[in-house]
Amino acid sequence: MALQDGLLSFNIKETVFLSPDKAGIGELKELELVPDVEVLENDTYISITGCLHLIGKYQPIRETAEAKGSGTETLIEAMTFPPFQRQGADQMLFEWDERISHRIPLNITIPLERIRDASDIFAIVDSFDYQLESPHQMVIEAELRLGGIQFAEIRETQESSQAFRATEQPQEGELPHFAGDWTFTHVAGEEEGQSASTSAQAELEQREDLEQEQHGLEEALDQQHAHEEQAWEEQQAREEQQAWDEQQEWDEQQFADEQEQQTDWQGGFEEVRESGFAQQVESNQELEGWPASGREAESEDLFNTPALPARAHVEQRFGELTEDWEQETVSARSSLFVREAISAESPTSRPEEPLTAEEAERVVAIHDAEPRAVGFNAGHNAVESSAGSNAQQEAEPYPHQAEAVNDEARESIPASAREAVDDAVDDAVAEAGEVQADKSEAVETFGEQGEVKVSISGKSSGAGEGRLNITSIFTQASKTKQEAEEQLEQSSSSSSARKGAQETFSPSTLEAVQNLTSFVRNREERTSRLKLCIIQRNETLEQISQRYSLPVSKLMEANHLTSADQLVAGQILYIPQ
């Protein structure tokens, strides 16, 4: 994922297999990727759900004639012919133009604070390309861009983060555009579905473990240190070969900075991997101790987890959440942040609902274990101060300040911990964002936080499956503490309901889980189509322009052609819409 020209950009890579009963692709005629989405809005977020519809026509390959005409086959094979189809038959064996139709489920959740108006949201498919691996296998690549989302604050946050970082660690690489402000998790692969389906149960178990292991925090702290150090070193070596290691380093810096300032728990930035629906990253977090999902999700999970002894729990939960992350990425981040988290304590404001002593202890433990989040939010919180005004009034000083855990930490930890336990991957991330927003509100310098969840799946099944294939989650805190408490109550009261919500994740079910009373309404979003035309033999630009009712000049301009003679058979021509 990247931010380009004010648009959120997601790289999509999908491998499409034709069913064996369909004729193989001999020559592609047309191919287009059309966003087919709808915008669902409630009082907290806007969900963009639907799919990317891949539509195409192709000329089937004449493999039957070629394969059986060598003269070396048996006469039975030689005398096996495709039948002549009668006129008006439903299915032609060799149609001139076979059709391709494939849907890539899509689910993107954006906090309402990030959107001025739902009608502003639009999706664009750009840079669409394809590659034929075989007559029955095709790889498509495209870039999905989302517009209508406010990023001004993000940029401000980024600038402030960069400025702050520059003072602390000027040698670090460039900060991603919305580093520190957005956290997302990119999950790819089909196995993810299994893990996601069990994530709720795992979270419940982890919550129980959390309570049980509070007493062993100090002992586990030493072990955690050792593990983290080792994992961090290993990961550092691998990070050098990763494209996004700079951000990790930056995260480290941010962590250190925030550790000093003890700001808040805002999640940092992680670069969205395109996953390509292919890389199945097992939860290597067991070794690394850090989730592969987005940082806010990670921070939530970490918050729920006892700092040191709860390492195993954290690993398990993150494994469920982040199967599609690369191991290196996960481990690197986890090692980085957990390592420093041990000593980290961040100030936090007390929510309206006071914590119990047990919760407070848990908070301390979790906070110690996961100080990573502190580093990421330093920059944004200052930017997002607009939403923080209300929260500050609601915030109360934490009664157990004497316990060497600042208010912010305590406040954020229990809330996020509950949410992480209660919710599935997406839910957990969303809630974490909300809770963190409250915390940040308590601190005047911190602004609002929102969350954006992205789920792009190559599966054609339901949304629950879809979000497991590729899920990009980047969160911002935007909810109030009360909402977080409601979610906590609901989740703790009904674990089965939580499971159901995880398994059949959708905007509506998410609302049910969160006990939201807002309505859902559809709004038409603006979409744009990108059409491709594959130049056939002896085809001219004039013919194509007539076919699509476009002037030749426009075609030439869209395809950077200087003359009409540049057309070559097989060339891809972008048809502007």
Partner: protein, 325 residues
């Protein structure tokens, strides 16, 4: 056919002509020795060859065929200019055969005997006819490909009937290509190729005095052996729709002359060519190219025919594999 004096020719046979009735490729003569058929052969070599295999077939024991009557000089034919003239008896009480396994078996057996008789003659080279068949098949395939390419380029974006006809071209070309390739199959040896009359139809079989009688074969069109069988089996299956008759015919044939894998390959290669469909589709393409509207009824009928032929092809192929296996 050159003009010649029938009475002068008949004087060589010592018959007195009472009445002459024109026939296709000859005359029906009412003579003082009964009805006779006077056949005119444009090719004298074919006439000599035909006389040879008839006599050999009679010597093999099958006398139910039309034999050339000798002249008073004991010659089986009269040469007039560049053409030959033969005289045979005209059988008034010929009856059509009733299809059945036994008759089919006998037919196959007789045809095998005929092929053997023809094979013994060295007057006409079978290898030349095999090469001719290969060239003709390939040329037709190339013509079909060119026509199909032109049609698809011109009418590729059409809909309805034109689109449907275009969709037929691919399986059509596939069959033609298969036929060409099988004709070049290494199991088909040009040295073993022999010549026979091109066409063998149900009209060549009659029942005379409750005996099977082989008639006709006065046309000069020749081809490699088994083309006649291919055509005959195709016709028989299309009219009778009984695959057992095909098996009976082949059983009878193999009783006299075993068929090897190369023979079956040649038989299938000659049978696989989608003649009806190509003919109708070619006509449609021609009419469409001229901007005329032609019905697709013939094509649809040809498709029906081809579907039955496909079954026959498959059956014979299975039989051939049993021979090889």
């Amino acid at each position: 056919m050159e003009n010649f004096d029938i009475y002068e020719v008949c004087r060589n046979y010592r018959v007195r002509v009472i009445r002459v009735t024109p026939l296709e490729g000859g005359f029906l003569l009412e003579t003082n020795r009964g009805p006779k058929e006077l056949r005119i052969w444009p090719r004298i070599d074919v006439m000599r060859w035909s006389f040879a295999w008839r006599e050999r077939l009679a010597r093999q024991g099958f006398r139910g065929l039309e034999r050339f009557i000798r002249t008073r000089e004991a010659k089986p034919f009269v040469i007039v200019g560049k053409q030959g003239v033969t005289m045979t008896d005209h059988l008034r009480h010929k009856q059509a055969i009733q299809p059945g396994a036994d008759v089919s078996f006998q037919c196959g057996r007789v045809i095998a005997m005929m092929h053997k008789a023809q094979q013994e003659s060295t007057l006409i080279s079978g290898a030349e006819y095999l090469q001719q068949a290969r060239r003709a098949s390939e040329a037709e395939w190339n013509r079909a490909k060119a026509a199909a390419g032109t049609y698809l380029r011109t009418f590729s974006r059409e809909s309805g009937r034109r689109r449907w006809v275009g969709e037929l071209l691919s399986p059509l070309l596939q069959r033609m290509e298969r036929s060409v390739r099988l004709l070049h199959h290494p199991s088909i040896s040009p040295d073993a190729a022999s010549v026979s009359h091109r066409d063998l139809t149900s009209d060549n079989w009659k029942m005379v005095n409750e005996k099977l009688f082989l008639t006709g074969f006065f046309q000069p069109a020749l081809s490699i052996q088994l083309r006649d069988v291919a055509g005959y089996l195709r016709e028989m299956y299309l009219t009778q729709a009984d695959i057992r008759l095909v098996d009976s015919f082949l059983d009878g044939y193999e009783q006299e002359k075993p068929l090897g894998y190369g023979d079956y390959t040649l038989l299938l290669a000659l049978m696989a060519r989608p003649r009806e469909i190509w003919k109708s589709v070619a006509a449609f393409i021609d009419e469409t190219a001229k901007g005329l509207r032609k019905s697709t009824r013939e094509i649809e009928q040809a498709i029906d025919t081809q579907q039955a032929v496909d079954v026959l092809l498959r059956h014979i192929a299975e039989r051939a594999e049993q021979v090889r296996g």
